[in-house]
Symmetry: D2
Subunit: 257 residues, 4 copies
């Protein structure tokens, strides 16, 4: 079975994600929504270095009900901006599912997701990489199993990232840590992104470390999320939902071995 996909956003991350979508044999990238279209660059495939022209660009302003009806897809992957959420109800009405990798939504935008999820399956994750989501779930489970452990988060990023990593803040929330006391932010050189959760017991330490090598990791995550979401009922899902579900599934297999 093949999943047909429309991608929103073709910035630094979006174009790397498109590259991963094009490489996956079970996925068909139908079109790519973009704020502005350059007249001499009609196909995302060309921008990705392919000779054949496929996955045409479409201006964001032209994505409406008519467009979707004549360019139907199973699922939208959204790497654009929070404002695109105003299209979600329309997508949902057309039976299109949505994977959103937008890193920050306003409250009004969150409402768009919530409403649209009554009519379709929507998964939203500010950091859709497999590694980070595994880190979230695994560290939460570890915290509950050794509640007396001390927990600290270390996040390392490139020098120009001014704010604290949103992912680190999310991990801290997951672990019920006071953010401003337990997140340690290192800023040096060109580090793509590293998150470490340290659990300290009196006689041992456990560390869970995720290191990003390239932003293409977002593509891998979005693909896994998409393949999972197409089988899901209406509702609003987090990336962790998938991990919890898979954890349970595998744990039960393991235990009965």
């Amino acid at each position: 079975m093949s999943i047909s996909i429309g991608l929103l956003g073709f910035g630094k991350t979006g174009s790397l994600v498109a590259q991963e979508l094009v490489k996956d044999s079970e996925i068909q990238l139908k079109w790519v929504g973009r704020r502005v279209i350059q007249p001499n660059l009609k196909f995302a495939s060309h921008a990705l270095g392919h000779y054949e022209g496929f996955a045409p660009f479409v201006a964001a302003s032209e994505i409406d009900e008519n467009f979707i009806k004549s360019n139907p897809v199973d699922l939208i992957i959204d790497f654009s901006v929070g404002a695109s959420s105003k299209l979600y109800q329309m997508f949902a009405n057309q039976g299109v599912k949505i994977v959103s990798a937008i890193s920050k939504y306003s409250d009004a935008e969150l409402l768009n997701l919530s409403k649209a999820s009554a009519s379709s399956a929507i998964l939203s994750s500010p950091n859709i990489t497999l590694g980070i989501n595994w880190l979230l779930v695994a560290s939460k489970l570890l915290k509950q199993m050794i509640p007396h452990a001390d927990v600290e988060i270390v996040e390392e990023h490139f020098r120009d990232k001014k704010e604290i990593s949103g992912t680190a803040i999310k991990i801290a929330e997951h672990l019920n840590l006071e953010n401003n006391k337990h997140i340690n932010s290192i800023r040096v050189g060109g580090i793509v992104g590293k998150h470490e959760v340290i659990f300290g017991l009196p006689f041992q330490t456990i560390r869970l470390t995720h290191e990003s090598i390239s932003l293409s990791a977002f593509g891998t995550g979005a693909i896994v999320a998409a393949k999972w979401l197409v089988h899901k009922d209406n509702g609003l899902y987090r990336m962790e939902s998938m991990f919890y579900e898979k954890f349970i599934q595998h744990i039960n297999t393991l235990v009965t071995q």
Copy 2:
């Protein structure tokens, strides 16, 4: 509720474990079995630096049915040698549960455990630290969720540890890795013990790292195992069983949140 415990073994690790047992308010260390008794040192408590005399030493050769009947305990913690398993059936017959932290058993000795577990609850683990067991379970789950990832194990120990870490071998078995190809053994200086499992994907890596600071970590693990095992039915348990059970318990809570 307090758990009364008999400890077998008072070597380098055994005495550190005894120290942890004595510190735990929910545990009563009743006696300590030891190969040879020094005439002027009758109490484990003295060897541990306490002024009061409690937890008397008993020679291994004197631990028999009569001894147990007059010195009853809820549970035995075994940090001695594989040969002590010949006592397990007798313990089991008296309704005593057993936590065994013996690192290597012969096949004949394993049979002792298996037989005795028909009449009592026995938990056996070659590395009973919380951290290593969490590593085992968490890395197995991660492997099943990203089966296409490359996996390598790095283990670091003090220079004089000649053989490959038994714990690393166990991790490799858990992950269905060919031991001799994927375990990397580093031997330098006085490192107590470090195990790392590296998962590599094209654009990201995940590392699970456990570092031992002191052999007292075996005491913490044995205590947690003991407190879990006292509620269990007859049968042979691995330390992982406890972790899987706790994982499932916590996952279900999380998912329903």
Copy 3:
């Protein structure tokens, strides 16, 4: 003062190096030698995303004495192949200095370098990054200061790198270690390149770790080497020479503080 440079090689690494050369205000990239020239791509600048046309490509076969006389440069940076060393005597005769970052030379090719260095200054380094060269020098000094320490090298690279890292072998040679016993090679996912030297003493460990984020690091190193080499007399230099010289210079300042 500005240094005029000719670059040999425009492969994966060579083009990243070119990008760094173009960004440096004290360097002028005059031309780029390349095996084959594509008719519709005449300037390296275009391939690097610049609108202006500069740094023209020149076919390797056309680089001869006449070409150099009419396209003079202060220094050649070579990221091509070992065979280019047959041009070195000609460059040297024209007073052009050479920074070679070729990773492997045959014995015959090494002779080309050695001969040409009688007439010019040549620096040759199989891994010209600042970090690796610092690692070489610093770990050698540490080894001499704590000769009784155990030393192990760990190198991590992307899965498809089949052979042992040449840089790790060089480090091992520098430290008088038997390569095949003390280099531990980890191959997973897309790791760009990581080298770690571990020094173990009975009660402490010291680790020196270099991690490559991008092959552009070769550009940074080549530039630093070039700026140092332009002030040097005829002779064959290694990248370490520069580091030793700078170490001495700085140490003397420090000691007199």
Copy 4:
């Protein structure tokens, strides 16, 4: 040649240091100064688990000119408290050299060292481990060679260490970093002590990491310092002085190779 030594201080660290002194064949531990003497424990050797009685304890209040004249040593190693510095002039007058490992001195006490160093050789270091001193020197040299790198310090210690690591502060001063901005302090579980200096460049990172396994590392450092100091003229030395001297010595050998 054997060095005769008097040790001041027999606390947690002092006793581990004594153990190392006793093990070294080139050193003779003559006596151990201690605040209070227990009547039934006359020899440090007994407290260290030896059967023979040697290295007698002496009460701090009895260490005066007469005592030193009748119990002469080549060198004092001081792991006691800052106040012991009031004895230094007297030691110096007797031709005794001093290795001080006191972590914090008041200004008045520092004056004691400075005055006494006119008559003897005194080496003072708040963290006398080999690893930390190598880290200080190597990171300072690296900073000078790549001045444009971003530098961050990470220090990890056991939970109950409330203040910022004095060693981390010293490293920051060495590197001209603003302490409060570039030191990241992690406090979890029972970590003995870990210091890491991270150098970040746009395309690569270099990390220098020192990890303490046991406080006995202070013994190793004190011994190396003592063996170096006995050959030195009057003056006040820092542990780094020794490292700089050895660096220069080795660098010159290397360069002429």
